[in-house]
Symmetry: C2
Subunit: 163 residues, 2 copies
DNA sequence: GATATATAGTAAAGCTACTTTATCATTTTG
DNA sequence: CAAAATGATAAAGTAGCTTTACTATATATC
């Protein structure tokens, strides 16, 4: 690491930079893209054509007996305005509907429609199929380890704060 | 899978839906977010304050001796217009600059500035530090396996096309 | 060597998935 | 009961793209 070109020295021959030496983040990103595209494809095949991943990430935070917008926002880690927008879209897609909260006049409960519930079920089946495909690729035991180790990397922070 | 509520039956008690049973995609997503945030934090600490992940994903496709916009677009899997926009931003951030291609009057070569090269070096150091942190968390051998298995999941498609 | 076609890049507008700022309506608190 | 907090919405702004449309240069064909 003594000069600028050293990092790339082994890569310049065929004109590809860090692209070939995949860093860990890149590995995660590509695997995730692949997984998400598989899910999207599966949903499309089941007739959920206009459902985007942003809609999925709304739906996954809705309880079967409904959830408030603010609660969804907290779970999803986005603003409640953003949730409001997604709810509006998912309402036009007939995936959710809203009803007033009986115990709080300000609040609104977002609930699944039948169609929305159907999507959730289909999604679970597709995810199970993807899991099976991944297991076949890396091995059953290895898949379990993969899950276990990835779960460890969800804990913050990866690098320790040093002051 | 006989009725709508079965999937959530075990989860309804504490009002959290699929949120608790993390699917594989979610594990990848959270791990990736964590990794990316660690990198962003590291870069910020080194003074690269306005650098976003979109800029990073431009820079990583630029060779040390420069690369054409079209070539970058192909490597990155985005349109050349998008690359053009990113190049404009990264130029104002003093990370890259452009020069005409001597062998093709239409083409433009995107090259690193000194500041841009410095960022690449810092980034590699930070990534190495994150790698070390991950190794400490999951184990050295396990980290190698993790990389190996994630790399397998980059291959398309995850689920086979059946017609 | 002129013409047709392909390629490199740019411009402008549009889209998605958000955020920020501001506001209104209820509810809770002191 | 007034003040502050909370749930939600509205409107505008932003990031990171794409689509459509264009210009300039290069290459291929006749």
């Amino acid at each position: 690491m003594s000069n600028d070109s050293s990092l790339y020295r082994g890569l310049r021959k065929d004109k590809e930079p860090s692209f070939r030496t995949e860093n860990f983040g890149r590995l995660l990103l590509v695997a995730l893209n692949n997984w998400q595209e598989s899910l999207a494809k599966g949903l499309q095949e089941k007739g959920f054509k206009d459902v985007r991943s942003s809609h999925i990430s709304l739906l996954r935070h809705i309880d079967m007996d409904g959830t408030r917008i603010t609660e969804i926002a907290e779970r999803a880690g986005i603003t409640k305005q953003a949730v409001g927008q997604l709810v509006k879209i998912c309402t036009t897609l007939n995936l959710v509907t809203t009803k007033p909260d009986k115990v709080d006049g300000r609040a609104k409960i977002v609930i699944f429609t039948d169609h929305g519930r159907k999507l959730i079920l289909e999604q679970q089946a597709i995810i199970a199929a993807i899991d099976a495909a991944v297991q076949q690729k890396v091995g059953k035991r290895e898949f379990a380890d993969l899950r276990k180790h990835l779960a460890l990397l969800s804990d913050w922070p990866l690098t320790e704060e040093r002051n």
